[in-house]
Symmetry: C2
């Protein structure tokens, strides 16, 4: 099968590339490759096609989409914190440009889009375990436009019969975790520890998150390749909530030397609790952070 | 209280203007007034301030927002049918420009936004009666961006404490129903009958809609003026589903002379059934179409 992975040189995307190559598919990765170097895919040179370009450039997108059957769309220009005070970057660079891309994909005959959505920001304030059929209450621009993008995928299914699988992912962690421009608490803390600066902890024992190992995410997302015409929405988490202070203890226990940290109240754009549930796929996932704890 | 009504010279907006003036508030209406003439508000000259401008013009918006406490936002550049093949007009002219407007409103110290949302297109395919807490499944660009706009109002509440009431309105009908650029089946049919052309009926006995009299909508939407700091989402319907063929019979019985019509299957961008429920406010509404039937 011909599979295009947009943003495939990133954190989660590159693990998905590894898994899909392992399955024997023909993979093309579209990303910003500066000076022809990859960030995470040097070990795969020869096993796939690389295409370098900007997501806003329609001509390159059209080339990337030629003869593709399934497209994974990992390109995302923002993160929840940066878009809190600038909703327009979400609307213009994520939502609008993604819809343009889906439009081109449908014109190219793509049969399925796989979209990594956000298990954290889409649901908003909820109590207890969150299932896929709960009423989402997003209140950050990041979560609002992720949910709108999901709905636009429904639109393309209705209008042109292009299928789509949506994975609402918990807090990803693992190898290749980005430290520059980090998204998520684990990358941010690691960056501060490596730089020797103070780790800022926002929240308390009630600030629960669902941490998922990135290789499990990648494995579970290959599921879409064997269910070609279906369109489904999956929570991709472990069903286990780990508090931000428990996570801090894992860091303290795991890292060889002590590091400075400071604990603050929860920030307004963070949810209190995110525990994703009711995804039968998730039985396969290994919860490595919890094994350490 | 100072109340700004954006798009207040339109169908529903102008009825809201009438009701709010009746309650003794100071009303400013912002709309496109060509040649200083209003479409529906000549009888109110002297009772309110008029401001003519384009929704994309930020300077005029800022002037309109000065000293306003509550803002009704009736401006909408599209309708479900026209945006079916052009999702970008929704994203750029409705969603983005509305968020720009809410940003300006919050900077001007507006305390509450009242937003007319869509009871029809937000919910998507559902069975039976629809309550406000059901999972929305929008699949038309119109419904998707209406729902995203609702979510962005939650964002402004969280970020800057600007309150908002959302009214998800059924199929409005009544005096001042637009016949040029009509939205909704009643206006469209009336236009065809007046022009002597054939009425096109899309659907069957299962194509149910919740028709609400426009003066009831206007009366119910004034509710937001007495609940100043709350933020709520209301279905605004009757709880009664009328099939498209029953509506056709009402037309045939009510209109003095026969008119030609043709019955077609439901269109892909139309929902099968929309019956709004669980709004205690709605007990006040008179269901005039049903009285005629």
């Amino acid at each position: 099968m011909n599979v295009l992975i947009m943003g495939g040189d990133g954190f989660i995307g590159s693990h998905v590339v590894d898994k899909i190559i392992e399955l024997g598919h023909r993979v093309t990765v579209f990303d910003r490759f500066s000076n022809r170097a990859t960030k995470h895919l040097e070990h795969q040179r020869g096993n796939l096609s690389f295409l370098s370009g900007e997501f806003a450039n329609r001509d390159i997108l059209k080339r990337a989409l030629e003869n593709q059957e399934v497209v994974y769309h990992f390109i995302c220009m923002t993160d929840p914190a940066s878009s809190w005070n600038d909703p327009f970057i979400e609307i213009e660079q994520n939502l609008r440009d993604s819809i343009h891309f889906f439009e081109l994909a449908s014109e190219s005959g793509v049969r399925k889009i796989v979209f990594p959505s956000s298990g954290g920001t889409i649901y908003g304030p909820q109590y207890g375990r969150i299932t896929e059929d709960i009423l989402p209450k997003p209140f950050s621009p990041y979560g609002i436009t992720k949910l709108a993008t999901e709905h636009f995928l429904n639109y393309f299914k209705e209008r042109v019969n292009m299928a789509s699988d949506i994975y609402r992912i918990g807090n990803a962690y693992g190898p290749r975790q980005p430290l520059n421009n980090p998204q998520g608490v684990i990358g941010t803390w690691m960056k501060h520890i490596l730089e020797g600066s103070e780790v800022q902890v926002f929240g308390d024992r009630q600030t629960l998150r669902d941490y998922v190992y990135v290789e499990d995410i990648a494995f579970l997302m290959t599921h879409s390749l064997s269910n070609f015409d279906s369109s489904r929405t999956y929570n991709l988490g472990t069903g286990i909530g780990v508090s931000i202070l428990d996570l801090l203890e894992v860091f303290i226990d795991t890292i060889d030397h002590p590091f400075p940290y400071q604990i603050h109240p929860r920030r307004s754009f963070d949810n209190t609790s995110v525990i994703l549930d009711r995804n039968p796929l998730v039985l396969c996932a290994q919860v490595v952070v919890l094994d350490c704890a």
